[in-house]
């Protein structure tokens, strides 16, 4: 394990990969790895991307990774898909949308099955994100499983939550319901090329102004991830949200 940690700090991808497996599979070793990593944590900006299955989370992440790399930031991705309640198996297909970074040593993408995790996350997702943080990744994007209304676990483990919506998911009362719609720091209406995307964005604007316990209204961004439209605005909103949080934290000190 010591050797793996040494290699991790040297920037060895296979060490990062092995360590993620260890924190995922072995509770005891996982705990001691986290203890060793503790002094090196807290540098990465953790961003959760959540929303319904097929809403475009993976494709948005692909776009974000491309832009972050252009600005020189090292990026990690943890992409979670569901585990079968019947057999314990899983089909992890998020990577299909995230190709083109294979020669880049500063991008690390890992798929995880949710296993016993609930709320759209895998139990080990936070630990895996910590491994990538210690590995030197400056932004770590965590993609939840496809979620519906009440899977909100991601809000407790990231700095910034992006909730991804699309046209066709119901009327404005659906958006008024508690749960997922309350946790977004940023809301995305993806598939902006579809009819109604702008209408949904407008309805969201009205509702977002009424969200409780906020200093300000969360930004609402229309994207078409497959055409890489709106991704730049999304990235700017994510970065701005982080800066604001840091400023507030500094003021409170």
């Amino acid at each position: 394990m010591k050797k793996l940690l040494k290699e991790l700090f040297k920037g060895d991808k296979s060490a990062a990969s092995r360590l993620i497996s260890l924190v995922e599979n072995d509770e005891e070793k996982g705990k001691s790895i986290m203890k060793e990593l503790k002094p090196f944590l807290g540098r990465a900006h953790l961003v959760g991307i959540t929303g319904a299955a097929g809403s475009g989370k993976s494709t948005l992440i692909h776009g974000l990774v491309g832009l972050l790399r252009k600005s020189g930031k090292k990026v990690g991705v943890i992409a979670i898909d569901p585990t079968s309640p019947l057999t314990g198996g899983a089909l992890l297909g998020d990577r299909i949308r995230m190709q083109g970074h294979e020669k880049d040593k500063d991008v690390f993408i890992r798929s995880m099955a949710a296993r016993e995790g609930v709320g759209g996350l895998s139990k080990a997702a936070t630990r895996a994100a910590s491994v990538l943080d210690a590995f030197g990744m400056e932004v770590v994007l965590i993609e939840t499983t496809g979620v519906g209304q009440s899977e909100t676990a991601v809000k407790d483990v990231v700095h910034t939550v992006v909730v991804v919506l699309t046209p066709g998911l119901g009327d404005d009362v659906q958006m008024m319901k508690a749960g997922l719609m309350e946790i977004g720091d940023i809301f995305v209406v993806n598939k902006g090329d579809l009819k109604n995307a702008e209408t949904i964005a407008k309805e969201l604007e009205d509702l977002a102004a009424m969200l409780p316990q906020r200093e300000k209204k969360p930004p609402i961004i229309v994207t078409t991830a497959t055409e890489e439209k709106g991704i730049e605005r999304l990235l700017m909103a994510i970065m701005a949200q982080r800066t604001e949080r840091m400023e507030i934290k500094a003021l409170l000190k």
Binding site: K13, S14, A16, S17, R18, I20, S21, N25, D26, T83, S84, T87, G88, G89, A90, L91, L92, G93, R95, I96, Q99, E102, K103, F108, I109, R110, S111, A113, R115
Partner: protein, 140 residues
């Protein structure tokens, strides 16, 4: 191991599946992906038209136990050896590389020498593929 005990096993078998090169025939590999999923494995499916670099980098980042590559384009004599040599370069030579698709007998023999552990061609039973992977991973 029966289905039930596998469900609760922490060390899940992780398999990377991909189609390499320029063909779009993915029915077979999708059937295999579902069969491995149903056997309790975690299957990372990369989809169509992947390059050897994409496949091997994904295998490295995903810490998989086994790599399965399907090829029906006729480019098997080039792509399998390329994947196998990249795996070696990245320290993944101990992971079994499994091939599938339309591969002539005489090519299979040659490719086995170049690092493909096993081929499953049309007509192969999914149970045999599951059993082979379980056996190969447990042997390590």
């Amino acid at each position: 191991m029966n289905t039930k005990s596998r469900r609760f096993s922490k060390n899940k078998i992780r398999v990377l599946l991909a189609k390499a090169g320029l063909d779009g025939h993915d029915r077979g590999i999708k059937v295999i992906a579902m069969a491995l999923r149903d056997a309790g494995m975690e299957v990372i499916y990369l989809g169509l038209r992947r390059t050897p670099e994409e496949i091997v980098n994904a295998a490295l980042e995903e810490d998989v136990d086994c790599i399965g590559v399907s090829l029906l384009s006729g480019a098997h004599n080039v792509l399998y050896p390329e994947i196998a040599s990249l795996m070696k370069k990245k320290g993944l030579a101990d992971k079994p590389l499994i091939g599938g698709g339309i591969i002539p007998e005489e090519d299979m023999a040659r490719l086995r020498k170049k690092g493909v552990a096993k081929f499953f061609t049309p007509g192969a039973k999914t149970e045999d593929i599951v059993r082979f992977i379980e056996g190969a991973v447990r042997k390590k």
